[in-house]
C-alpha cells in the first residue's frame, strides 16, 4: 500500500460543484478507472482519499490535489492515464506523484481573477486601483464562534499579501495572494464582490493558481 498525490485542474461548469460533490465525483471516477484503490478495514469499508485544501464553489483551479492510497505498485503514469480516462469534463489530471509536503503546511494561495463585461473598463480600473490601495477594507464574513455561525469583521487589505491589477483591452485582470489553509483563510470572492460594486453588469472568474507554505515555497 502506498500513498500518491493526484494533481488536477478543475475548470469549466464543474467549478459550480461543492467540495462535497467533488469528493463524491472523485470516488466514482476512481471506481470507474479501475485502479487498485486501498479500502479501509471494518464494517463499512471506504477508500482513503483526502484533499489538500477544499476549493470554494464557483472557483476554477490549476493546482488541486488529493491523496489516495493504492494497494499495489502500479506505476504513476499508468494511474494517471487510467484516472484521466474516467474523469468528467472539466477535470484534468496533471500529475501523479509521491507527496512531498503535508497539506498542513499550506499557508497562502495565489489567485488569478478576470473581470468581464465591464461597462467602462478605464473607469473601473481606476476605481479598483484606488480601492486596492486604501488602508483598509472591512467586510463582514461568516465565521465560527465555538459551534455557532456568526458574522465577523475582516479587513481584507490587511490580509492581502500582494496583488497586481492589469488591463488588457476590455478585460481586467487581478492577481493576488491571500492566506489559505488551516489557520487563516480569506476567500478572494469577498474582495471581488467589493470590486464588482464599482461597476455593473460585470462578472468575474476566479482561478486558484498555486498554493504556498508560509515561506512562500510551492506546495508539492
Amino acid at each position: 500500500m502506498r500513498t500518491l498525490r493526484v494533481w488536477f485542474q478543475k475548470r469549466g461548469p464543474i467549478r459550480y460543484i461543492s467540495h462535497l460533490d467533488l469528493m463524491r465525483t472523485m470516488t466514482r471516477a476512481i471506481r470507474r478507472s479501475g485502479i487498485p484503490l486501498w479500502y479501509t478495514e471494518g464494517f463499512n469499508p471506504h477508500p482513503y482519499m483526502t484533499f489538500a485544501l477544499p476549493l470554494s464553489l464557483g472557483m476554477e483551479s490549476l493546482c488541486e490535489s488529493m491523496d489516495i492510497r493504492i494497494e499495489d505498485d502500479t506505476g504513476e503514469a499508468q494511474i494517471l492515464s487510467a484516472l484521466q480516462s474516467a474523469m468528467p469534463a472539466g477535470i484534468e489530471i496533471t500529475a501523479v506523484k509521491v507527496p512531498v509536503l503535508d497539506p498542513k503546511f499550506i499557508a497562502f494561495a495565489a489567485f488569478d481573477v478576470v473581470f468581464e463585461d465591464v461597462r467602462d473598463s478605464d473607469d473601473f480600473y481606476d476605481k479598483a486601483n484606488a480601492l486596492l490601495h486604501r488602508d483598509s477594507l472591512v467586510v463582514q464574513k461568516l465565521g465560527k464562534k465555538g459551534h455557532k455561525k456568526v458574522m465577523k469583521d475582516v479587513d481584507l487589505l490587511e490580509h492581502l499579501q500582494s496583488f497586481s491589477l492589469t488591463k488588457d483591452g476590455e478585460l481586467l485582470r487581478l492577481q493576488l495572494v491571500l492566506p489559505a489553509g488551516s489557520t487563516t483563510n480569506v476567500n478572494p470572492a469577498l474582495l471581488c464582490d467589493e470590486l464588482l460594486k464599482l461597476t455593473d453588469g460585470a462578472l468575474y472568474r476566479i482561478t486558484r493558481t498555486a498554493l504556498y507554505t508560509k515561506d512562500m515555497e510551492l506546495f508539492a
Binding site: G12, P13, I14, Y16, I17, S18, L20, D21, R24, T25, T27, R28, A29, I30, R31, R32, Y39, P45, L57, G58, A86, P88, A89, G90, E116, D117, A189, G201, L203
Partner: protein, 614 residues
C-alpha cells in the same frame, strides 16, 4: 452549457450545479447535424427529476437516433426563477444552453398531479403561450407522458399531444412524423391530425367534450379522423427493448443516486387502490441474465456503488433468488450494495432472508395499508397480521430494531374500528420485539407508522368512490393517535390539503384547466413541496373560476356515468373494475394473477400475452 448572462446569476443561487449541465455521460451533439431538437422537461427540481428512471430511459432512446438531440430541462428553483425573470433570461436546455422556445418538441413527464402548475410555469418561462391553441406554429409541439396521462384532462388545454403508455416505442413514430411535417412545411393542424393516427398518441384538441346539466360528462366525441378510443402501446418483450448503457451521473446529490433497474413491469397483486398496479399491466418480466449484464455495464460506466432493483413488487419477480446469486457474485468483491425496495412480506423465504442479509441492511418496511383484515380484504391487500408478525419476528431475530409500516386512511368501506386497527397492529409489532429472546441487548424498538390519505384514481376499481373530505380525514387521524398508547410507535401523516387537491385533478376534467391557469397566475408552483403549497390560493382559484372541487372528490359516481377518461384504453376492462369494486363492498379478495387470471383485459394490448398467465 450556459451563456454569460446565466453565469452572472449562478453565484447568487443555491446549488448552481442544478443549472450548468456538463455531467458525466450527458450527451452533446452538433445542433446543425440533427433534424429535431427535443427538450425533455421534468416539471420539478433537478434533484427529483434526475432520480427518475423514466427520464434516463427516454433520454437514451431519443439520443440513440442520430437525427434527434434530446436535452434535459428541470424546473428552476424559486431563487433561480426570480433572477431569470428579472433579467429576461428564457428557460434553456442543460446540454446546449439554448432557449427551449427554439426547439421542435417539448416533452413533459407528468408523474404526479401536483406538478401541473410547474408545467405552465416552465412554458411561460420559456417564452411560450401556455395554451396549445395559442401556439399556432408547427413547432414547438408540446407533448406529455407519464402516469398522469391516463387522465390528464385537466391539462388538456395546454398540451398538443399526450403519449399513453410506454414511450420507448411511441416516440420514434412521433419523431419521424414531425421530421416529415417540418420538411414538407405542414400546418400544425395537419400534423396533429396525422399524429392522432399513431397508436398510443392522444390529441386532446381533436375531441369535443359535452356535459349534462348536472355537470357530469355527456360525451367525448372525436373529430377529424381521430380514433374513438386511444390505445396504450405496450412493449411486449422487455429483454429486447433498449435499456440505457449509460446513466448521467449528477454532480450534486439527488434523491436516488444509484443504478436503478426495472426488473419487471406490471404487478400480479391487484390491490384495488393502486393505480400503478393496473396501469402498467400486463405483467412482463425481464430475464436475470439481461438484468445482470445491464447492471454490470451501468456500474462500470457510472462508478455507482449501489444498485436498486425496482418494480411494483420485487419479491413477485419469479427469479429473484437466481438474479441475486448472479449479482452478488460480482457486487460483493466490487463493494456494491443492492437495494430492494417494494419487497412484500408474505414470500420472504429463509434463503431469501439469508441473501438479503448480504445486501444492504436498510430499514424494514411493510405496507399493510389497512389496520384490519376485513379492510385489507376489501382493498385486496393480501397481507395478513400473522405474516407481518412472523416477518417482524424473523427480522428482530436478525438484529433489526426499526420497522416502518405504511397505511392509508380514507379507504372505501373504512370504519373507525379499522382506523384503530392501525394502532393495534403497530402495538402487536412492538410486543413481538419484546417477546423475542434473541433481541439485541439494551436496544429498544421503533415502529414508525406512515399514514397517507387515500385518493381514488382512474383505472382502478375505486374510480367511482367518493374521497374522504379533509374534515373526515383529520378526524380519523385524531382517532388513530388516541389509540396509540406507547412511545415506541410514532405516526406521521400526509397533509390532507395536498391529498385533496391531488384528488380533484386525478379524476378531473377539462373544466379544471382554467383553475390551474388561475392558480398558476396567482403564484402557485411546486405544489408538491410543503413550503410552496398555498392551499388558500387554490381554494380562491376554484371559486374565482366557478368550479366546485367537491364535485370531483366527494361525489359517488354511478357505474354507468361517462368518465372523463373513458376514451382512453389501458387494456383494463370496465366490467373487470366493476366486478372488483363489488367484491370490495363484500370484503372479498381476488387471488393474485399467478394463482388465477382475473381477466383484467390488459393482455389484449399484448396480443393476449401476460407473463402471469399461461
Amino acid at each position: 452549457m450556459f451563456n454569460k448572462e446565466i453565469e452572472k446569476i449562478l453565484p447568487l443561487v443555491q446549488k448552481p450545479a442544478r443549472y450548468t449541465g456538463g455531467e458525466l455521460n450527458s450527451i452533446i451533439k452538433d445542433k446543425n447535424a440533427v433534424k429535431l431538437r427535443y427538450a425533455f422537461c421534468f416539471p420539478d427540481s433537478y434533484e427529483i427529476g434526475m432520480s427518475h428512471l423514466g427520464i434516463k430511459i427516454l433520454y437514451d432512446c431519443a439520443n440513440a437516433r442520430d437525427d434527434v438531440w434530446c436535452e434535459r430541462v428541470f424546473a428552476p428553483w424559486h431563487d433561480m426563477e426570480a433572477l431569470m425573470r428579472e433579467r429576461n433570461l428564457p428557460l434553456y436546455a442543460l446540454e446546449s444552453g439554448d432557449p427551449i422556445k427554439e426547439f421542435d418538441l417539448i416533452g413533459f413527464t407528468l408523474m404526479y398531479e401536483l406538478c401541473y402548475t410547474n408545467v405552465l410555469n416552465m412554458l411561460d418561462l420559456a417564452g411560450l403561450p401556455i395554451r396549445a391553441a395559442d401556439r399556432t406554429d408547427l413547432t414547438p409541439i408540446v407533448i406529455g407522458g407519464g402516469a398522469c396521462v391516463c387522465n390528464a384532462e385537466p391539462m388538456a388545454e395546454f398540451f398538443d399531444l399526450l403519449c399513453l403508455g410506454e414511450g420507448e416505442e411511441v416516440f420514434d413514430e412521433v419523431f419521424d412524423l414531425l421530421e416529415t411535417a417540418k420538411a414538407e412545411g405542414w400546418s400544425k393542424k395537419k400534423f396533429l391530425q396525422a399524429a392522432a393516427q399513431i397508436e398510443g398518441i392522444y390529441v386532446p384538441a381533436l375531441y369535443d367534450v359535452t356535459y349534462h346539466n348536472d355537470g357530469t360528462v355527456a360525451a367525448v366525441t372525436p373529430h377529424d379522423g381521430a380514433p374513438e378510443k386511444v390505445k396504450k402501446l405496450v412493449i411486449s418483450d422487455l429483454d429486447r427493448v433498449r435499456y440505457p448503457e449509460k446513466f448521467i451521473v449528477p454532480f450534486i446529490e439527488v434523491v436516488h443516486d444509484r443504478v436503478t433497474h426495472e426488473i419487471m413491469r406490471g404487478c400480479i397483486r391487484g390491490c384495488r387502490f393502486c393505480q400503478a398496479g393496473f396501469l402498467y399491466r400486463p405483467i412482463r418480466e425481464k430475464s436475470p441474465d439481461t438484468i445482470n449484464d445491464q447492471c454490470k455495464r451501468l456500474c462500470d460506466v457510472t462508478g455507482y456503488d449501489e444498485i436498486s432493483l425496482s418494480s411494483l413488487s420485487t419479491s413477485d419477480y419469479t427469479q429473484l433468488e437466481t438474479l441475486l446469486d448472479k449479482l452478488l457474485e460480482w457486487t460483493i468483491p466490487e463493494k456494491i450494495n443492492i437495494a430492494l425496495p417494494s419487497l412484500r412480506v408474505d414470500n420472504f423465504s429463509d434463503s431469501l432472508m439469508e441473501k438479503l442479509n448480504k445486501v444492504r441492511r436498510s430499514g424494514l418496511t411493510f405496507a399493510p395499508e389497512a389496520g384490519t383484515q376485513r379492510l385489507r380484504d376489501a382493498i385486496n391487500k393480501n397481507v395478513t397480521e400473522e405474516e407481518v408478525l412472523r416477518t417482524s419476528r424473523k427480522a428482530f431475530a436478525g438484529g433489526w430494531t426499526a420497522v416502518k409500516l405504511y397505511f392509508m386512511l380514507g379507504l372505501p368501506t373504512e370504519t373507525l374500528d379499522d382506523v384503530a386497527g392501525i394502532a393495534d397492529l403497530g402495538q402487536l409489532v412492538v410486543n413481538e420485539f419484546y417477546r423475542n429472546p434473541d433481541k439485541p441487548k439494551g436496544k429498544g424498538v421503533t415502529v414508525s407508522i406512515s399514514v397517507a390519505s387515500f385518493v381514488p384514481k382512474p383505472f382502478t376499481p375505486f374510480q367511482w368512490e367518493p374521497q374522504d373530505t379533509r374534515e373526515m380525514l383529520l378526524e380519523k387521524q385524531a382517532h388513530l393517535l388516541s389509540n396509540i398508547h406507547t412511545k415506541k410507535i410514532n405516526a406521521s401523516f400526509h397533509k390532507v390539503d395536498i391529498s385533496f387537491l391531488e384528488g380533484v385533478f386525478a379524476r378531473g376534467d377539462r373544466r379544471l384547466s382554467k383553475v390551474i391557469e388561475y392558480a398558476w397566475a396567482h403564484g402557485c408552483k411546486f405544489d408538491g413541496w410543503d413550503d410552496s403549497f398555498h392551499f388558500d390560493t387554490w381554494m380562491e382559484s376554484f371559486s374565482a373560476c366557478g368550479v366546485d372541487p367537491l364535485f370531483y372528490t366527494s361525489r359517488r359516481r354511478s357505474f354507468d356515468e361517462v368518465l372523463p377518461w373513458d376514451h382512453l384504453d389501458y387494456g383494463i376492462r370496465k366490467e373487470f373494475l366493476i366486478r372488483e369494486a363489488k367484491k370490495a363492498y363484500e370484503s372479498k379478495t381476488t387471488p393474485h394473477c399467478r394463482i388465477h387470471c382475473a381477466g383484467c383485459g390488459a393482455d389484449r394490448l399484448n396480443g393476449g400475452k401476460c407473463d402471469a398467465h399461461a
